[in-house]
């Protein structure tokens, strides 16, 4: 359940902030420069840059090193890993409950209900 935990910590920490999630949502529709991102969020460029740094550190986005405008783009792989976490959670319980079905079946009295009521 906890494979790649440290990766996920960084990813979820980055996703904890509503502005950063909004930035990712914006980037989902195409790459954007700091300028383009700052505008709709009513934030200063340094503030946006700070968020981008966190997202980049978590591997959620990448930025072009060479281009002057350094547009940011979404890196979907890490997002997929994060969504896999809840999927793991689901798988853990689904597999466990399937086993529980059989344990419960075993726990039931071996006699049928009819026999049980007549024996009492």
């Amino acid at each position: 359940m906890q494979a790649a935990t440290s990766h996920l910590n960084a990813t979820f920490a980055a996703l904890a902030d509503p502005t950063r999630r909004a930035i990712l949502a914006r980037l989902a529709s195409g790459q954007a420069t700091v300028n383009e991102l700052a505008e709709p969020f009513d934030m200063t460029q340094p503030a946006i840059s700070k968020h981008l740094k966190v997202l980049e550190g978590a591997g959620l986005i990448s930025r072009d090193r060479d281009a002057q405008r350094r547009p940011s783009r979404l890196e979907p792989r890490r997002l997929a890993e994060a969504s896999a976490w809840l999927e793991q959670y689901r798988q853990f319980w689904e597999a466990s409950f399937a086993r529980l079905d059989h344990v419960l079946e075993e726990l039931k009295p071996k006699k049928t209900r009819r026999e049980k009521s007549s024996s009492r």
Partner: protein, 166 residues
């Protein structure tokens, strides 16, 4: 043998909770036992194949401790968690804290398990409640994520929007 795997549901009712629901074809007493007797718990609370539960200790009373350790021999992996029972209503309800040894969220979460029987079928509803929003914000500042569930709700939308444009 009649099982109800299709009744299994995972949802995120609020930004602090995860909820799991499942129906079992057994009376509530048996289901409650299966959730609270170590010799039974260690037989099913194992997740995917390959895991065992070398440690399963349950002191079923208010203030009592429980401790689970899972091991995957083939991968040399081990993980542990435990907590304290806050409420124990036989056959009906359990409330306990949970904390993983190597936790990816700070503080403790609180698990509430409710057992409801209807016509010989027991519905189990397990709710994991993470700490306050304040705790979450503190957690965010400390670099650990507490709002992962809230984040996940939006993540779904985000992924959907990405898929739509990819």
């Amino acid at each position: 043998m009649l099982f109800y795997p299709e009744s299994f549901k995972v949802s995120t009712p609020t930004d602090r909770e995860i909820e799991i629901e499942r129906d079992f074809n057994a009376p509530r007493q048996l289901v409650f036992d299966a959730f609270t007797k170590p010799e039974l718990v260690r037989r099913w609370l194992l997740g995917p194949d390959g895991w065992t539960m070398p440690v399963c200790e349950i002191d079923l009373k208010v203030g009592g401790l429980y401790r689970y350790v899972w091991r995957k021999e083939s991968a040399g992996m081990e993980m542990g968690m435990g907590g304290v029972f806050r409420e124990v209503v036989r056959k009906e309800k359990l409330v306990a804290t949970e904390k993983f040894d190597d936790s990816w969220y700070p503080g403790e979460a609180v698990d509430t398990t409710v057992f409801a029987e209807r016509g010989g079928i027991t519905r189990v509803k397990l709710t994991v409640l993470y700490e306050s929003k304040e705790a979450r914000d503190t957690a965010t500042r400390s670099g650990m994520e507490h709002g992962m569930v809230a984040g996940y709700n939006r993540l779904e939308e985000l992924l959907a929007s990405f898929n739509a444009t990819a």
